[in-house]
């Protein structure tokens, strides 16, 4: 396999991005080494889709009360084939504690339990720091979950807003990317255009937990001010604005 010359002028591209730039060429095609690297990454991503969320490890890592629930999808294969099941709670789910909560935090495995396991505890901790004045319901951890599952959970908890932290579908460079979906006045039937999203939360390589928490806290504060989320709420947050003083 061809070696990349030490003085490769395209090295400057590789330094600037994690995208697969400056791969070289064999004719019009890929050299063998980057072709195999791609296949390895795809194999890992396929494996991540089928990873199982370790709710006990999460319970330990998330300080405070944690409630574990299941969606209506009984297993991964059904979850992949029928997204609606992942948007509803399983029949027979125990009643969630309804209260006067400003915010519900829902953690869902989504398409990458790997991402949830790796980044959720840090994001939740960073978010708590930035939302000192908010009453936050017990964190709900949901298996076989889609984003809209947060609507019924948020409503059941009596929360004014819900933030759903969920594993995004794995890419090749990032099998551990987390998304945060913020919905004001959560209830079943909310449309995607009524949510705001912060994506690519992972570190290193994406948004660090502190940066992500800044964005989420900014969006939540704006949502409370405007009484809505979605396309009407434009993201104009400037970095660092939500770190508490000191």
């Amino acid at each position: 396999m061809a070696e990349v010359p030490a003085t490769d002028p395209l090295e400057v591209l590789r330094q600037a991005t994690t995208a697969r730039v400056a791969l070289g060429r064999a004719g019009q095609g890929l050299p063998t080494a980057p072709m195999l690297a791609f296949q390895l990454a795809h194999a890992r991503a396929r494996d991540a889709v089928h990873a199982v969320l370790d709710t006990e490890a999460l319970r330990v890592a998330l300080e405070g009360e944690v409630i574990v629930v299941e969606s209506a999808a009984p297993d991964r294969a059904t979850y992949l084939a029928d997204p609606d099941l992942g948007r509803r709670l399983a029949e027979g789910t125990a009643a969630l504690p309804c209260g006067d909560h400003d915010l519900a935090v829902v953690v869902g495995d989504g398409l990458s339990a790997t991402a949830v396991q790796a980044h959720v505890p840090a994001v939740v901790a960073a978010l708590r720091l930035r939302l000192a004045g908010w009453t936050i319901a017990p964190v709900v951890v949901a298996r076989q979950a889609r984003v809209a599952l947060g609507d019924s959970i948020g409503e059941a908890l009596g929360a004014k807003a819900v933030v759903v932290l969920i594993g995004e579908r794995p890419g090749l460079s990032a099998a551990d990317s987390l998304g945060a979906y913020i919905t004001w006045d959560p209830k079943p039937g909310r449309r995607d255009s009524e949510r705001n999203c912060v994506s690519n939360i992972r570190w290193p390589g994406g948004l660090a937990p502190d940066q992500a928490a800044d964005k989420i806290a900014w969006l939540l504060t704006e949502a409370r001010r405007m009484g809505m989320t979605g396309v009407a709420l434009k993201d104009r947050e400037t970095p660092g604005s939500f770190l508490p003083p000191g």
Binding site: P9, T17, A19, V21, L23, R25, G171
Partner: protein
Amino acid sequence: MYAQDLAGTHYAFRDLKALLAAATPFRSGDQLAGVAAQSAEQRVAARYVLADLPLKTFLEDLVVPYETDEVTRLIVDSHDRAAFAPIAHLTVGAFREWLLANETDGEALRAIAPGVTPEMAAAVCKLMRNQDLIAMARKISVTSAFRTTLGLPRRLSVRLQPNHATDDPRGVAASILDGLLMGCGDAVIGVNPATDNVETARTLLDLIDELRQRLDIPTQSCVLTHVTNTMELIELGAPVDLTFQSIAGTEAANRGFGVDLALLREAHDATLALGRNPLGDNVMYFETGQGSALSGGAHHGVDQQTLEARAYAVARPFRPLLVNTVVGFIGPEYLYDGKQITRAGLEDHFCGKLMGLPMGVDVCYTNHAAADQDDMDDLLTLLGVAGVNFVMGVPGADDVMLNYQSTSFHDALYVREVLGLKPAPEFEAWLSGIGLLDSAGRVAQVGQSREAQRRLLAHLADG
């Protein structure tokens, strides 16, 4: 009621949308919606019924009600009776044969396009094999222009898609330069931002526009953000070339995207008024994809392929520069595997072209679908033969922000090579002028184009 007897079995379909759905090649999304055929034989029975159905039926029997859906009203109210006249006497089955006939040339197909409703396109599509979809689409040339002319015969353009996980300008610039060095970017340099932050979109637009002007690249730029963001960017005086929006085939699905026809009209007029388009008046970039209406709970019991064709009816009045069906992005619940993705890509390209739209295809899949790069090679090659206007160019086929696999700059070079296709003429001249083509007209290897390389990479060194 539509019905067919096959060897003693009576097959009845309660209405037109049930018939269309049953006639559709199997895919997971129709199964999920509960509209797929109950058996393989029922599917063929539906095709027999469909083949005998007069095309005129689709003007009278509407799959989504006129009263409650503005997309249906658009389809009905803007139907061009004069353009429809040459095919008005045909059944769907005869329409298929008319389309394939040697006498039916590109000019005839261009003439009937305004008379073809999405439901007619979808219906004839369901009777076609993959080779029909390819052979038919190949006859239709739909051109559009901004700073490059797209869709000319024997040309294949590439949207350079330089996404970055955190919208880092330097990272985005690196992917753009990598793509330019590989001869890609003639359809558009279009970046999907990681957030919908208006200031970030402005930064990215400024970055691409400055690069374009400094290197004198004949292409157009786009930040693929919500239409209301782009309208705000226009008001801020940002260098907006194209307005982007995802669209779907029903009013309710479009509402799920936060748009309606009036908003699209407003955005189109504001973009056109900027007057940044020297070669043509095509200033819109639309993205679509089978399954989006069902995903938004807005499918009215209509199959996903018919709804996709209705999205092209939404695009048509705006004379877009680019319509891109992001075929495998939505996931296995709509298109389960490589076979279904391949079929859908060919269907979308055919239906869009038949309706007169400048179709590109994001040949792609996600990691939860049963597909891999071999499936993408197949579909890319088939679409190259079918005459697709443009495909995506993503570094190494790996979109590090959207987390899916598309086609790469290498893939574009491959398909141009094996099929003898060239970039858009203005862009090809630029590549040649800057020294990026070798003596055989291929994009030069890195070592053969040192001066061009130095000029491009200097941009990154400068910041």
